[in-house]
Amino acid sequence: MALGTALSRPAQLDSCEWVLRGALLRRRAELRKSWRHFISSECLESLGSLAKEVESVLSGQDTFRDWRFAAAFTWMNCNASFIDCLGAIALGRDIGHRSSNTGPVGLSLVSFNKLASNQRSEILCDRYRCPLNIGLHAESDIAEELLRQLMVPDRAKLEAGAEFDVDMVMLKVNLVGVRAMITRDLRYLDALNYFYELPRRSLTRMRANPRFLASWLCIYAQLLSTPDW
């Protein structure tokens, strides 16, 4: 059989899309009830003025904002800090981005992986100050590497109950989630599914960074409500 013929999508795809949609909505309903197991009341309090909005996104009706337009840009700049931009995206707010003619120079994955964890985190927060940039085609190699790190070494550490860098893992989970919003790549969504399904004892350690934890869950809620995967 020729590869071209064999790889044409069979009729089962329609039924697959329905099954997938149903599963995502069921998970969304589950998240609406279970998110308080992830974010403790202390965590929520520490979010200050954001707490109410986070609660509203997670407990409220299905809402999502279509960020796919971002893929059409070359590079985007924002005035706000990385953490504020990420929070705004997670809550479905405007982030006041503007397009730029020039982006930063390419990031060498080899040098990036040689850096200490805190330096890697700094580089990512700086490069993706406007987090929507992780969804650009030009950033595919970095996004793939972040996904690989999450799903191979980080996953292995989490499953074994070993020590892991909470901030770095949460940063990666958030960036992977933002990429899923823009590219609609199911692998990126499934990384978030996977982290949601981790034993609660692993997840409670993530409370060490309440803002990242809240933004991850809000991004996940939006992804589950997204109709067209």
Binding site: L3, S15, C16, L20
Partner: protein, 235 residues
């Protein structure tokens, strides 16, 4: 052509070797490696248990003894990428290795075989590399099957594809059973691949990794979706 089945257990090694025996011009060996780096007691207890659990345990034992007597059952005591193991593999002067162990190969191990090591990957390359590729193929409405290719030290990135066989998922209710069936096709497809390699001109296809993606372990939620899709499309 001299071929070594690089196996994680006697049972697997003998099963694949038996299939190769029927191919004319093939001299087959079984290289047994300690994939899980287990202690000798644990390793051999598991082997014994696996043989005894087999329905054809007597035939299997006889075959294994016959291979051992002929010096065609080689047991590696050290890890596969250890210098001593690589030296032993080189000394066997094999043309091709057949992957049947749960190990990741490094370059020196691969180059111990004249042509390299073949892997029967239960997914269609170049599109589906990595883990859970059967699940991902079903989820994305793509055909399932097995690709036999020469490995390199990356994850399903080896450049030369020897053959690819599409095997439909229809009729299977659970993805676990579907995967077991696909895994079980390894011996037959290795035999077919060796047959191809013995032709004067081999029609290799290039595994162009830019045409595919790497996949990872699938979440429980998506596995449930895949099982539901299989159930819905069971004809």
């Amino acid at each position: 052509m001299r071929v070594a089945v690089v196996a994680g257990s006697i049972k697997t090694g003998i099963r694949i070797a038996k299939e190769m025996e029927s191919l004319p011009g093939i001299d087959v060996l079984v290289v047994l490696c300690n994939a899980g780096k287990r202690s000798p007691l644990l390793r051999w207890s598991r082997e014994l248990l696996s043989v005894l659990k087999s329905l054809k345990w007597w035939t299997l034992t006889r075959k294994a003894c016959s291979y051992a007597r002929q010096g065609r059952l080689i047991i590696l005591h050290r890890p596969l990428d250890d210098a001593e193991s690589i030296q032993r593999l080189r000394s066997l002067q094999c043309d091709v290795g057949l992957h049947a162990a749960n190990v990741i190969y490094r370059e020196p191990t691969i180059s111990a075989f004249r042509l390299g090591i073949l892997n029967a990957h239960i997914g269609i390359l170049p599109k589906y590399r990595g883990r859970c590729v059967v699940e991902w193929s079903v989820l994305q409405g793509d055909p399932t099957g097995v690709t036999v290719f020469f490995i390199d030290s990356g994850i399903d990135t080896g450049r030369l594809i020897v053959l690819r066989e599409f095997i439909p998922s229809s009729g299977w209710k659970r993805v676990g059973a579907l995967k077991n069936m696909l895994f079980g096709c390894d011996a037959r497809l290795y035999r077919k691949a060796l047959g191809t390699l013995m032709q004067p001109e081999v029609p290799f296809e290039t595994n162009d990794i830019s045409k595919g993606q790497r996949y990872y372990v699938m979440s429980k939620m998506f596995i449930r979706v895949v099982n539901q899709v299989l159930l819905d499309n069971r004809v």
